[in-house]
């Protein structure tokens, strides 16, 4: 039903290109882990290695403590929800969901009962005799999930499962996904390049970049105290201010050398770190906040993005005295 997963220094190459560069990651049983990163960073490659669709050039993958080298996908305690669903178009939903059990020699009535149960779990009760082409994208996604869960895998792999859905449906499905994962307790490894989706579902986010892990941690940690400039920027908008020996374009803000990082929502009229007078360049109302670009009077070449309180009405050209409530200093430049 659930198992831990250990990825030990896994490297994968396509020709001379390095798709994964000595990636190591330990995932606890029952954990919901999200692999997050830009296109081409190796997320699918890693998922394929876990699922057994490819073998790594070097390194080991252990599921529940067992080495998976040379074990075919059919024999691994993993199943996959593919991005394009890959449902069987010629079968009913019941047959789709029951397919894995059929391959395991389970009798028809039992299969049918299990399929009904799984379809109900994903919110499609009473649709057992429909065919995939009669469903909407979101419903197909649910069927793919039910099919993968029906065989009670230890580890469920999801490759951008919500990628093809519109934004609203995606937000609704991600909540459901989290809920289903809580109920079944299976280890989920979920791939996405949408950081909001990642934060909504993950126990732990793994930020990847160019075949390497750039950061790992719970959403709050990865967002608020990222360990690299890459993950800081990938998790959401952030202001970067170069600091050299305690000096920056905005004057002496923090000691040390590196990059000062401030999230737009950490900047406001009050705060522990004064940024000085800033001229408002442009303003846009975003509903939950007012997003503005400002230029510090001290540093005309610097532009900061700030999220101001919804209630604050400012016009371009106004000068505000801004400060940051929260900031982070990274040694990287």
């Amino acid at each position: 039903m659930t198992a831990s997963l250990s990825i030990q220094s896994v490297t994968q190459r396509y020709g001379t290109a390095l798709a994964l560069d000595a990636v190591s990651l330990d995932i606890a049983a029952g954990e919901f882990v999200v692999l997050l990163g830009p296109s081409g960073c190796g997320k699918t490659t890693l998922l394929n290695l876990i699922g057994g669709f490819a073998e790594p050039v070097s390194g080991r993958i252990l599921i529940g403590g067992k080495d998976m080298a040379g074990v075919a996908p059919a024999q691994r305690p993993t199943t996959t929800v593919f991005q394009d669903y890959a449902l069987f178009p010629h079968m009913t939903l019941a047959d789709n969901v029951g397919f894995g059990l059929r391959m395991r020699g389970v009798a028809r009535p039992e299969r049918r009962a299990k399929a009904e149960e799984m379809l109900a779990l994903v919110g499609l009760p009473g649709k057992a005799l429909r065919r995939p082409h009669e469903l909407s994208g979101g419903q197909r996604q649910r069927v793919a999930l039910a099919r993968a869960l029906a065989v009670a895998p230890d580890v469920l792999l999801l490759d951008e499962p919500l990628g093809a859905l519109d934004l609203k449906l995606r937000r609704a499905m991600q909540d459901e996904l989290k809920e289903i994962q809580r109920r079944v307790g299976t280890t989920f490894v979920h791939v996405t390049h949408d950081q909001e989706e990642a934060m909504a579902v993950a126990d732990r986010i793994v930020v990847m970049n160019a075949g390497k892990i750039a950061d790992v941690g719970p959403p709050r940690e990865v967002y608020l105290s990222p360990k690299s400039l890459f993950s800081a920027a990938f998790m959401g908008e952030i202001n970067q201010i170069a600091v050299r020996d305690g000096q920056s374009a905005l004057g002496a803000l923090v000691p040390g050398t590196g990059t000062l990082l401030i999230r737009p929502e950490a900047i406001g009229l009050n705060g522990a770190l004064p940024l000085g007078l800033c001229r408002v360049e442009d303003v846009a109302f975003f509903g939950t906040h007012v997003r503005a670009h400002v230029t510090p009077l001290k540093a005309p070449g610097t532009r900061l993005t700030v999220h101001l309180a919804q209630t604050l009405s400012v016009e371009p050209g106004a000068v505000l005295d801004l400060a940051a409530t929260d900031h982070l200093m990274l040694e990287e430049e």
Binding site: F53, P73, A74, T78, T79, L87, F88, P89, G100, A148
Partner: protein
């Protein structure tokens, strides 16, 4: 201009179908010769051929050869297409070319080649050898149709099936073949029609048991008769039925 194009269309259809119409009309000739003038309607020639044992045996042989050879060609073509579409082998382009190559060779050459081979190997001619000849001509067709129909869609579904625990044979049986059913049905019915009225290979590779076209040919040697028209009409009817069945399977299939 419009009129001219309609006239052209009519002429084209007449050119294609007139021989068939003439063939069918004179199979009902109430007289000894299948030539104008039309002397009246009669079913006597149909009665005659249906009572002709040799002809009916040949008809049965043709059906047997057509179905068995087409089934074999389909299975082999499908498996070859599946393998070449899924597995990246060195030289798979060459293999693909070799599989399609017989399409470009004339039936006469294929028949002569097989005849020499069977003689050398000491295999005596029979319906089996004619059937093998038909597999040779239909395999490239089945392969090409099946190969063209295999897309990423199938590939992903097969991957999912494997992921859910299916063996390769189960993947083929439960997923690949059903998903390709329309294309496979088309390939099968086309093969059946090709085998059904194929003459040269059947003529050169059979001896005592012969297929229908060969039997018709020997009937023709004893001169024209409305009976041959009647047989021809029956052969045509069967071919048309196969094509119609194919249309139903391939194009009337609700999405």
């Amino acid at each position: 201009m419009r009129l001219l194009s309609w006239a052209y269309l009519a002429a084209a259809y007449a050119f294609v179908f007139l021989p068939v119409v003439v063939l069918v009309v004179f199979s009902f000739q109430d007289g000894r010769l299948p030539v104008p003038p039309f002397q009246g309607f009669s079913l006597q020639w149909y009665d005659k051929i249906l009572g002709n044992g040799a002809l009916m045996t040949a008809l049965w042989h043709s059906a047997l050869v057509a179905f068995v050879s087409s089934a074999l060609a389909l299975v082999m073509g499908f498996l070859a297409a599946h393998a070449l579409a899924r597995v990246r082998l060195p030289g798979s382009v060459l293999l693909r070319g070799l599989l399609i190559a017989p399409m470009t060779v004339s039936y006469l050459i294929i028949a002569l080649g097989l005849l020499t081979t069977f003689n050398q190997a000491g295999i005596s001619l029979s319906l089996w050898t004619a059937g093998i000849g038909h597999v040779v001509i239909n395999l490239p067709l089945c392969f090409a149709i099946a190969y063209a129909a295999m897309g990423d869609h199938q590939k992903n579904a097969e991957r999912a099936a494997r992921d859910l625990g299916a063996t390769e044979a189960q993947v083929l049986w439960h997923v690949s073949a059903p998903m390709l059913a329309p294309a496979l049905a088309a390939a099968f019915f086309l093969s059946v029609t090709f085998s059904w009225d194929e003459f040269i290979i059947a003529f050169l590779l059979t001896r005592f048991d012969v297929t229908l076209p060969v039997e018709i040919w020997s009937m023709l040697r004893s001169g024209l008769s409305p009976a041959t028209n009647a047989v021809g009409s029956l052969v045509f009817l069967v071919s048309v039925s196969a094509v119609v069945l194919m249309e139903i399977f391939l194009f009337r299939r609700p999405k």
